[in-house]
Amino acid sequence: MTQHAPVLTAEEKRRRMVMATMRRHGYTPDALIETLHTVQSAAGYLDEPSLRFVASELHLPLSLVYGVATFYHAFTLKPEGRHRCILCQGTACYIKGSQAILNAVTKTYHIAPGETTEDGEISLLTARCLGACSMAPTAILDEEVVGYLTPERVLTRMEGWKKP
C-alpha cells in the first residue's frame, strides 16, 4: 500500500476515508452499507476497484458486496455528470404534475432517468419522495432542494448549468 507516501493523491485520500469508516465499525460485515456510502460520497460512484477493496477488507465475498451495491437505489455503479437533476416522483409531486417535468427534461436532454448526457455534464435521476411534499412538485438541482416547479422553471435552471 502507498500509505507512507508523504503527499497523498486524490485516490489515496479517498481510500483513507473508506478505511476510516471500516475501522470505526470494527471491520465487521455490518459496516458494508456504511462503507459503500463513504465510497460513493468520496468518489461519486462505486467503482469496481473500490468494491473489490471493500470486499477484501471486510472479508466478504465480492458477489455479496455487488449484491448489496445493486440492491439499493442510492448506490450507482456509473460515474455521474457534473450536475445532478433529481426529480421527485412522490405522490404529491405526481398529483401536481411531476410527469410533465420529467418528460420535458428527458425530451430536451435526450436522457432517461439514471442516464448522463454524452458530454458527462448532466445526470438525470428520480427520487421516490424527497419529503418536501408541501412544495410539490420538487427537485434537487445540484444539492439544492427547489419547490413549486414547472417544466419551464426546471429547464431554465438547467440551462444555467451550460455556462461554466
Binding site: Y72, Q89, T91, A92, R128, C129, S134, M135
Partner: protein
C-alpha cells in the same frame, strides 16, 4: 447568547441537575424582551429561511438591541406559507418572509406588527390542532440541548430511571393505549412487554426512521425539529425492555434530519444522557445511526434488520418476530419515530391523560402530512377521531382554485383512496381499514376532479413493482403484471377480461405475498375499483378519461 448556563458543562448530569438547568434556561430566555423564531426545518430552509435568520440577526446586532434574540426553530406546520417567522411573546406569525423583510420586522418589535407579512393564527389550521408530538416543534432550537432541557427534556427519563421499575414503565405505556404510529397500529405496550419477557444476553431497540411512503414527511419533521425527544423515548424504551444498545435507521434522503440527529446524539452523550451510567444510574444505552440506501422495502421490520446487518434489505417470514429474534437474532424492539416521540409526554402526564384523547380504540393524536390539491399543505397534529372533512376542509381550507374534492389518499402505496361520500369518517385505525385504506404512517394526499383514479392506481403499482425486493414470486411477478394491466387501462387498450384478471391478481398478491409490501400493494387498486369503478369502465369501454388526464393512442391499438 443563550448558551450561558450550560455550555461549560461537559461532565455527567445528575437527575437533580435537570429541573435546575431548565429553570435557569427559562430565566435566561425570559430576560429577552423579544425572541424571533425562524423556522429552520427543511421546508422553510429550501425557501432560504437561513438567510432570513442571518439578516434578522444582523439587524438586531446593528441596532444594538441586546434585549432581543433570534432563534432557529423547527417546523411550525404551515409549510406552504414558508419561510415562517414568529415573534414572541407577542405571538405574531409572519409568512413568506424574505431577507429584505428583516429590517421591517426588527423595527416592529414592541410596536405594531408588519401587516403585509402577517399570517392570521385564529383560523382552524392553528385552532383545531392538538400538539403533543409536535409540542416543541417551532418552539425550541433543535440544535441546542439546552432548549430541550428548558422544555422539561430528559426529566421523564430521569423519573423513569430513578423511581419506576421496567414493568411499571411498560404498564404505563400499555394503559395509555398508544399504538404503533408506523402504520400497522400494533399496541406499543404489548410489543414492549414481549421484548421485555424475551430472554437473551443482549437486546436491541431500533427506531424506524425509514419514512418511505411517498407523500409522508412527519418523521423527517419531528427529527429535524425535536430530535432529543426521540432519543429520550428510545432510552425509556430501552430501560423498559432491558436493552443497552439502540439503532436509528434513517433514510439517506434526509440529510438535515441526519445532521440534527448526529448533533443531538453527540450532545446527549457528552453529558451522559446517553451512553454508560446515564444520569449517574447503572443504566447504559448507546445509540448508533444507520443510513438507509434508498429501498422502500426496508421500512418492513425484518428487511430493516437485514439492512442494519449490512445485507440486502429483503424481508424474511415471521414468526419468529423481531421481538423474539431480531437484530443478530437478539430480541429487538422496533418502533417508529412518532411512537417514540409520544413516550415522554405519556410518562409526564400519565397514561389516563393520553387515553382521554382520541377514540375508543385509537388513543392520542396523529401527525399528518397534508399535501396535494389542498390549500394548506403542511404538517398537522390532530386528536384521533377527527373527521377527514375537518382535516381537509377546515384545517386544510379545502381545494384550491375552486375545484371539487375527489378523493384523499392515505397510507401511501399500502393505502387507498377515500371518496367524498366518506369525508365524515373519523380518522382512526379501524375506520380507515374498514374503508379499504389504512392509517399508514400519516401521509394524506388530496386529489381533485382533475386526478384520474386509474392513473393513481397505476402510479402506486409502478412504485410497488420497482420497490419489490424480488424475493417472493407473488409480489415480484404479480405487481409487474398488475402494472401492465393498469397501463393498458389508462392507455385505452384494455378489455373487460383484463379488469377481471386485475381483480383476481389483487386477491392472489394480497394473500400470498411474504411481507406487507406485497400484501398491501393491491390496496390502491382495490379501493379505486371499489369507489371509482365507473372511471375504470370509462377507460375500458369508451376510451375516455373522465378526469381528462390520460392520453389515448387509438392509432396504435393494433399493437395491443
Amino acid at each position: 447568547m443563550e448558551k450561558t448556563v450550560i455550555h461549560h458543562m461537559t461532565q455527567a448530569l445528575t437527575p437533580d441537575d435537570l429541573p435546575r438547568i431548565a429553570e435557569a434556561e427559562r430565566a435566561a430566555a425570559s430576560a429577552f424582551e423579544h425572541t424571533i423564531h425562524v423556522c429552520v426545518a427543511a421546508g422553510c430552509l429550501s425557501q432560504h429561511s437561513d438567510q432570513v435568520k442571518q439578516h434578522l440577526e444582523h439587524h438586531i446586532q446593528e441596532r444594538g438591541l441586546a434585549h432581543c434574540q433570534v432563534k432557529g426553530v423547527g417546523c411550525m406546520g404551515l409549510c406552504r406559507a414558508g419561510p415562517l417567522v414568529s415573534v414572541r411573546p407577542a405571538s405574531t406569525l409572519y409568512q413568506a418572509v424574505t431577507p429584505d423583510d428583516a429590517p421591517a420586522i426588527v423595527e416592529s418589535l414592541g410596536a405594531e406588527p408588519v401587516q403585509r407579512l402577517a399570517c392570521p393564527t385564529d383560523r382552524p389550521f392553528f385552532t383545531r390542532q392538538t400538539r403533543i408530538v409536535l409540542a416543541n416543534s417551532g418552539e425550541i432550537d433543535p440544535e441546542h440541548l439546552e432548549d430541550y432541557l428548558a422544555a422539561g427534556g430528559y426529566q421523564q427519563l430521569a423519573h423513569v430511571l430513578t423511581t419506576l421499575t421496567p414493568a411499571q414503565v411498560i404498564d404505563q405505556i400499555s394503559r395509555s393505549g398508544l399504538r404503533g404510529r408506523g402504520g400497522a397500529g400494533y399496541p406499543t405496550g404489548l410489543k414492549w412487554s414481549t421484548v421485555a419477557k424475551a430472554s437473551g444476553p443482549r437486546k436491541f431497540v431500533i427506531c424506524n426512521a425509514d419514512e418511505g411512503d411517498p407523500g409522508a414527511f412527519m418523521d423527517r419533521s419531528v427529527l429535524e425539529s425535536d430530535p432529543h425527544r426521540v432519543l429520550e423515548g428510545m432510552a425509556i424504551a430501552a430501560y423498559a425492555v432491558g436493552a443497552s444498545e439502540g439503532y436509528i435507521y434513517i433514510r439517506a434522503e434526509y440529510p438535515l434530519a441526519i445532521k440534527r440527529l448526529q448533533t443531538a446524539i453527540r450532545q446527549a452523550e457528552r453529558v451522559k444522557l446517553i451512553g454508560s451510567n446515564i444520569l449517574g444510574t447503572a443504566f447504559t444505552f448507546q445509540i448508533h445511526l444507520r443510513l438507509g440506501a434508498g429501498a422502500f422495502v426496508c421500512g418492513e421490520e425484518t428487511a430493516l434488520i437485514a439492512s442494519i446487518e449490512g445485507r440486502r434489505g429483503q424481508p424474511r417470514p415471521r414468526p419468529p418476530f423481531p421481538a423474539e429474534s431480531g437484530l443478530w437474532r437478539a430480541p429487538t424492539l422496533i418502533n417508529n419515530v412518532e411512537t417514540y416521540a409520544n413516550i415522554a409526554p405519556i410518562i409526564a402526564n400519565g397514561p389516563e391523560w393520553f387515553a382521554s384523547i382520541g377514540t375508543e380504540r385509537s388513543k392520542g393524536t396523529k401527525v399528518f402530512a397534508l399535501a396535494g390539491k389542498v390549500v394548506n399543505t403542511g404538517l398537522i397534529e390532530v386528536p384521533m377521531g377527527t373527521t377527514l372533512r375537518t382535516i381537509i376542509h377546515d384545517i386544510g381550507e379545502g381545494i384550491p382554485e375552486g375545484r371539487r374534492f375527489k378523493a384523499v389518499q392515505t397510507g401511501g402505496p399500502s393505502g387507498g383512496c377515500i371518496p367524498a361520500a366518506y369525508l365524515d369518517t373519523p380518522v382512526d385505525y379501524e375506520s380507515l381499514t374498514a374503508l379499504g385504506s389504512i392509517m399508514g404512517s400519516g401521509g394524506m394526499i388530496v386529489m381533485d376532479e382533475h386526478s384520474c383514479m386509474v392513473d393513481v392506481a397505476r402510479y402506486f403499482m409502478e412504485f410497488c413493482m420497482s420497490e419489490s425486493c424480488g424475493k417472493c414470486v407473488p409480489c415480484r411477478v404479480g405487481t409487474a403484471e398488475m402494472y401492465e394491466l393498469l397501463s393498458r387501462i389508462v392507455q385505452g387498450r384494455a378489455s373487460g377480461e383484463d379488469m377481471a384478471l386485475l381483480q383476481e391478481l389483487c386477491e392472489t398478491v394480497r394473500y400470498t405475498s411474504l411481507c406487507g409490501l406485497g400484501q398491501s400493494a393491491p390496496n390502491p387498486v382495490l379501493s379505486t375499483i371499489k369507489y371509482f369503478e365507473d372511471e375504470y369502465l370509462a377507460h375500458i369501454t369508451n376510451h375516455v378519461c373522465p378526469a381528462g388526464q390520460c392520453q389515448f393512442e387509438m392509432a396504435q391499438e393494433g399493437q395491443a
